[in-house]
C-alpha cells in the first residue's frame, strides 16, 4: 500500500510539470503586461523596465520556465506574488481555509442527502418519489449557480433576512453559499447513487442475501450499498476535487475569500507567480483527492485492495 501511494505520488511529477508548462504557455500568450498592471497606469517606463528585469520577464520563455522549475524543485520556492510581495504559498494558504470549509460543508450536505435519496429512489424505482427526485435532480443540474445564488440572496437575505448575503465568519454565512453550491453535487450524487444501486440490486448476490431470509433493510444497506459505493465514491471525490479548486462564481457572489476568487484576481492582475503557484496547488490538491478516492476504493472493495499490493 505504501509503495502504491509512493508510486502514485511519483507519477504526479510529470503531470505537474505538464500543468506548469501549460500554465506558463498560457500566461506567455496572454496579452497584458504584469509590470504595468502591478505598478499602475501612472508608473514610469523606467520603473516598469526595472520591474520586468527583476522578475525575469525579459528572459526567453524556456529560460523563465526552467528557472521556475529549478527553483520550485530545489528550493520548494514557487515565487512571490507580484501584488502582495508575499510568498505565493502563504497567499494560497490564507485563501484555502475558506474554500476547504465551503467544499467540506457542500460535500457533507450533498452526501448526507444525496445518498439516502438516491437509495430510496432506487428501491422505489418508477414510483412517484423516484420520478420527483429524478426530475429535481435534473433541475438541480440545470440551475446556473450564479443565478441561483442571486435568487437565494434575494429571498433569504433581502426578503426574509435570515442569513447574511456575504462574509465568511459564522455558520450563518455558510448557509447560502452551501445551499447554492451543494445543489449540483447533490444532484450528481443522487443520480449516481440511484443508478449504481439499481445496477447492484439486480445482482445475484443480492438475491442470495434475500434467499437467506435477510430483512430488506440490511439487504439494502449492507449488501447493496457496500457494492454500490465505488461509483458513488468516485463522483463524491470528483465533486470534492472540483469544489476544492474554488467555486469562482459562488465565491464572488457571496464575497467568500476563497481560492477561486484569488485565482481569478490573479489572472486578471497578471500576477504570474500567483497564477502558476495557484494552478499547481489546485492541480496537486485535485490529484491528491483522486489518490484519496483510489485509496477509499481499496477500503470499500477488497478486489481493488488486492491490486494495490
Amino acid at each position: 500500500m505504501i509503495k502504491y501511494i509512493f508510486k502514485r505520488i511519483v507519477s504526479l511529477i510529470p503531470v505537474m510539470l505538464g500543468v506548469a508548462f501549460i500554465v506558463f504557455t498560457l500566461l506567455y500568450l496572454t496579452p497584458g503586461d504584469p509590470a504595468r498592471i502591478v505598478m499602475g497606469e501612472q508608473a514610469t517606463e523606467e520603473a516598469l523596465h526595472e520591474f520586468r528585469e527583476k522578475e525575469g520577464l525579459n528572459d526567453p520563455f524556456f529560460v523563465q520556465f526552467g528557472n521556475y522549475v529549478v527553483k520550485a524543485v530545489t528550493k520548494g520556492d514557487i515565487g512571490r506574488s507580484y501584488m502582495t510581495r508575499r510568498p505565493v504559498f502563504d497567499e494560497i494558504m490564507s485563501a484555502f481555509p475558506a474554500t476547504l470549509k465551503l467544499a467540506v460543508s457542500c460535500v457533507i450536505a450533498a452526501v448526507l442527502f444525496g445518498i439516502p435519496i438516491g437509495i430510496l429512489s432506487a428501491i422505489k424505482q418508477n414510483s412517484f418519489f423516484d420520478n420527483i427526485t429524478r426530475f429535481l435532480a435534473i433541475v438541480g443540474l440545470s440551475m446556473p449557480v450564479f443565478w441561483q445564488g442571486l435568487l437565494l440572496i434575494l429571498l433569504f437575505s433581502v426578503k426574509l433576512r435570515w442569513f447574511p448575503s456575504s462574509g465568511f465568519d459564522s455558520w450563518a454565512t455558510l448557509v447560502l453559499p452551501t445551499l447554492t453550491l451543494a445543489c449540483n453535487p447533490l444532484a450528481v450524487i443522487t443520480r449516481m447513487t440511484r443508478s449504481s444501486m439499481l445496477e447492484v440490486v439486480r445482482q445475484d448476490y443480492i438475491r442470495t442475501a434475500r434467499s437467506k431470509g435477510q430483512i430488506e433493510r440490511i439487504v439494502i444497506w449492507r449488501h447493496a450499498l457496500g457494492n454500490a459505493l465505488i461509483p458513488i465514491v468516485t463522483v463524491v471525490g470528483l465533486q470534492f476535487g472540483t469544489l476544492l479548486a474554488g467555486a469562482v462564481l459562488t465565491e464572488s457572489i457571496f464575497s467568500i475569500p476563497g481560492v477561486g476568487r484569488l485565482m481569478v484576481e490573479a489572472i486578471k492582475m497578471r500576477d504570474y507567480p500567483m497564477v502558476q503557484g495557484g494552478v499547481l496547488f489546485i492541480a496537486i490538491t485535485f490529484s491528491l483527492v483522486n489518490l484519496l478516492v483510489d485509496l477509499l476504493y481499496a477500503y470499500v472493495d477488497p478486489r481493488i485492495r488486492a491490486q494495490y499490493k
Binding site: 501612472q42 514610469t44 502582495t84 457572489i253 486578471k268
Partner: protein, 474 residues
Amino acid sequence: KDTLTIANIYDARSLDPIVQNEVAASGAICHINETLIDLDDEGNPIPLLAEEFEQIDPTTYRFVLRKGVKFHNGDPFTAADVLYSIERAKSPLGSAIKQYPEIIESVVAEDDYTVVIKIKYPFTPFWGTMAHTSLAVVNQRAVEEKGDMYPMNPVGTGPFTMKEWVKNDKLVLERFEEYWGDKPAYKTLVMRSVPESVNRTIELETGAVDIAYLIPTADVSRVKDNKDLNVISAYQHSTCFMGFNTAKEPWNDPRVREAVKLALDINGARHAVFRGTGETPVSLVPKTIKYSDQSATMPKRDVERAKQLLAEAGVKLPLKAQIWSNAYKPRVDLAQIFQAQLKEVGIEIEAKVLEWGAYLDGLKLGDHDMYILGWTISSVDPDGIMSGIVHSGGGSNYAKFHDEEIDALIDKGKTMPDGPEREALYMDLQKRLNEQNPYLYLYAEETFYGVKNEVENFIPSARGYHNLAGVSFK
C-alpha cells in the same frame, strides 16, 4: 457601540505601504501608519507626524517631528524611522510606488526630531507626494523582525493597531491606546470587502455594516428612503474620458473628433447610466482640483452639424470604428449608448470590452480608435493628469496626442510655484485642449456612501479613501 464596521468593494492587497498603489490599501494603511503631513480639503499641507514644516529653498524642505509619539510595538518615533521609511520606499522593494519617492534626492536627519529632504528639481506638488501613504512611516524593527509576514502584521504610529486580517474578507483593527492624538471613539474597526454591490446595500440594510462604500446608483433612493439610513455623496479627484487615437486616420483630424462630440449626447448618456447622479465634466482637470477650468460648456447634441463636419473632413461613411473599454459596467454601458448614437451619423461602432491587462496592452499597441479610460489624481495638482496623458511623453497618453505648445506649457507648469501665474497657465492649457478635443469628458462619478443614522462625522474624502478615526456613534 464600540465597533465600526464598513463594507468596501475591495480588500487591501497588502498592508505594506510601499507594496501597492491602490485606494483600498491606502484606505487601510492610513489607519495604521501615518505620513509626516496630511492635506486639507484645499490641498494645503497640515501637520501630522511633523509638527512643523517649511520649504527652505525650491528644492529643500525641513520637517520638525512630533515628540512622544510611539509605535504600536512601543518603540519611540524618531527621525531615524523617517529616514528608514523613505529609503525603503526608494529601494527596489518600492517599485510599485516608485514615482512618488523618486523625486527625493536625499533625506538627512539634523537631529532626532528634525528631517531635511532635498528633491531633485523644483516640484510644486511635493506636499501631495509627502502626504501619500506610500511614504508613511514604518517601524524598522518590526519590518525586519516580521520579514515576509510584515504586510500581515504592520506596525505604525497610527490610531489603530492590526488585529486580524482575513484576506478578501475582513480586516480588523483595534484602537491604539497610546496614540499621540485624539483617540477614536470606538474600539474596533472592521473593514470588510464585499465586491457585489447589491450585497453591500443588503449588508447595510440588515445592519451588518455601519457604513457601506460605493452604493450602486440603483440603490441610492432605496437607502435614502430607509429611515435608519443615510446617503452621503462625494466626488473624487477623477475624470472619465473617451480618448481618440489621434495618430490614426481619421481621428487625427480635429473636425472628426468634434463631429463625434456633437453626435453624442454625453449628458443624456451619463444620466441614463448613472441614473442622474454625478456630473458631466467640462475639463480634463476634475473640479475638485485646483485650477480646474469650469468656464467651458458642453455643446448641445447636433447630428446635422456632426454630419457636415464629417463631410468636410472627407470621411467616407459609413465609417467603421471601435470603442474600447475595460469591463467596468458604466463604461461598457456608455460605449453601448454611444454605439447607438453614433450610428445616426453613420459611424458604426463595435464596442470592445477588454479585460484590464489586455486593455492596457492593447492601448499600448495602439490599434484602437476610441477608448474609455479614467484618471484618478493622486497628488492634488493638475500636473499629474497633464503630464500623464496630455504631454506627448506621458506614460498614459494613449490618445497619442502631440502638440509642441501644450507640451511646453505642461513642462513649465510643473515647476512653477503656486500662484495666479500658475493658475493662468493651467487655464490656458485647458482652453487649448478643449479646442482640440483629443479627449471627450464623459463623467465625474458621484460616489455614494450608505451610512447608518447613528454614525456621525463620516466625511468622505475626494481621494477615494477615508480616514475613519474621527467617526463616532450617536
